[in-house]
């Protein structure tokens, strides 16, 4: 049996999207957060490390990751203010195999195009010529610069 009280209807949550300039401002804020976290947190931490650890690749990776999480926090705040889920806003939906296939084919075409157009650097030109003269053309791909 239903009472005479009308059922409460819940309105869909209000969402909004950041447009052109607002997106740029949020990116600028995230860049600022990246540098602030880097200067205030990472540099003092690096200063405390022994010198042999400072040049370690893992230190380098962590040194970039910590400020990146600061920037990510700004993005998370921006997306939260839109009322949308982060996954929906950023388009983190499962990838489809045909899309990956098309993308890989495109990358192969672009890579081959770049190989065909690229001139060897000045320092490598002598080696390029000697390879060509030796008949090892596969190793000196692209146009002949000798």
């Amino acid at each position: 049996m239903t009472s005479g009280v009308p059922l409460e209807t819940t309105a869909p949550p209000k969402t909004r999207e950041w447009k052109f300039w607002a997106t740029i401002l949020w990116v600028a804020a995230s860049v600022a957060a990246f540098f602030i976290v880097g200067v205030l947190l990472v540099l003092p931490l690096l200063g405390m490390l022994p010198s042999e650890l400072k040049s370690h690749p893992l230190t380098n990776a962590v040194g970039w990751l910590i400020p990146w999480f600061g920037a990510l926090g700004v993005f998370a705040l921006a997306i939260r203010l839109t009322g949308m889920r982060m996954r929906d806003y950023l388009g983190f939906v499962p990838p489809r195999l045909p899309d990956i296939g098309i993308g890989l084919a495109g990358l192969v075409v672009l890579f081959l195009w770049q190989c065909c157009c690229s001139t060897p650097p000045r320092t490598g030109r002598r080696r390029h010529c000697s390879i060509r003269i030796a008949g090892q053309w596969l190793r000196a791909h692209g146009p002949n610069y000798c």
Binding site: W18, L90, G91, F92, P95, D99, T123, R139
Partner: protein, 101 residues
């Protein structure tokens, strides 16, 4: 770092946040693809003009795939594969002595 962290961070920024905001604005998805590609290219200023053109074209490809598929995860995977292949290629040619260092 080059194969996982950089692609995830860059795709999150360019094909994720920037593309979403700019595609919803007056410039539309096509303008957003071109602009995010240009912004991504500017980030790689250590390259020569050919390298920059290549980066811009790859940006157009990633942006188009982001638009068709609606998925940033797809472009993240492609970016990781691309960087892994280039890193592998450079390692091999350096090890074989084909590249002057």
């Amino acid at each position: 770092m080059t194969v996982v962290v950089a692609p995830v961070a860059e795709e999150l920024l360019f094909r994720g946040f920037l593309y979403r905001g700019w595609a919803a604005s007056r410039i539309g998805p096509t303008g957003a693809i071109v602009l995010t590609s240009a912004a991504w290219m500017i980030m790689h200023t250590q390259r020569n003009w050919l390298g920059l053109t290549y980066i811009f074209c790859v940006g157009l490809l990633y942006g188009s795939i982001r638009r068709w598929s609606g998925s940033t995860a797809t472009t993240v995977i492609l970016h990781c594969i691309n960087n892994a292949l280039i890193a592998g290629y450079l390692l091999i040619v350096t090890a074989l002595g084909w590249l002057d260092t």
